[in-house]
Amino acid sequence: MKLLTHNLLSSHVRGVGPRGFPLRLQATEVRVNPVEFNPDFVARMIPKVEWAALLEAADTLNLAEVPREPTEGYEHDEDFLRKMHHVLLEVEVLEGTLQCPESGRLFPISRGIPNMLLNDEETET
């Protein structure tokens, strides 16, 4: 699970609604994979990123040099874009958990795959 993916994931436990985001990340195994840098792609993703969630996850993983916010004219700031590229796409959580901030429910991440299935009692009707 890359941090770009984590930035989308939200708990669907019944009654939790938007308070199910962001999921609290805990990682026991992390891998860094080089990914081809595409500055246009990264620039287009920036407006979509929920920054607080990204920073929280990056801090949990002790990532260095994580921009705290988009810089002015970030679209042309290669240094900024490369750092964001690294944070969003090159760091992968292989083993760990995601925790619903509202209910405390834990979702496992195994072999890079979050399993977000809920029991019947937990799902929204």
Partner: protein, 278 residues
Amino acid sequence: MVRRKPVNLPPISYMKTYMKAKMYTVLCSAAMKECDNLKIDESEIGCDYSKTLVDICRERQFQAFVCDALAVPVRSGSCDACISIAVIHHFATAERRVAALQEIVRLLRPGGKALIYVWAMEQEHNNQKSKYLKENRISQEQKEEIKNDKSTPGLVEQKSDTGSQNSASSVPSIDDIQEKESSSKPITNSELPIHINRTSFHSQDVLVPWHLKTKTGKDKPVEPFGSAGARDQSPVFHRYYHVFCDGELEAACQTLSNVSVLQSYHDQGNWCVILQKV
């Protein structure tokens, strides 16, 4: 009814062209393995109920997670596009099918689009048989044998090519499988007909037999189907489908107030819709 085929473009290519125009986060439900050539960039994320299928996605370098299509764990309005292929026809009630559509629409940002494919009851359209019907390898003789052989209703050594080549999310235990194979009684208490693969649908709600191909060793010859005394060794799963009628998918989409159906068409034995969240 809106009926316009994408001009000269197969529908998935159409969605991809649309997506290339802007930056998108895409959620692909099911059949990710069929989307091998569709990945444009890192913004594509897939999900499925089946862990095994999601594993395959991972092997192919997609980001993917396991979830229920009725409770997708993604924040609302975060996706520019969604693709749902061969998913919604597995839900057993009209309410659940609409609920699955609602989830897709919830994920979309306003203006976002979704491409939805479901299996069609009408496998023949405009006098053209679908690939599914055309690839019928069973001879007429064998069809007769199937009808007369009460112990193996609907068992056919063929695979469905509608993205069903994955193990079911609830796999019967070995005991269950053995019990089924040793029973010579037809399934009489089931209200759902068991479909004969590669033939037309006679009912909208069916169980489609799916053969899990097991790897047979050299010392285990594969018996030709239909020969006397032969019994298929590989497990058969009966997978539930609600095949859609002409107009049914579109009508289901129209029940949602924040949806505009952009295109609605038939494609190789599937009913398809491209919708937009308003």
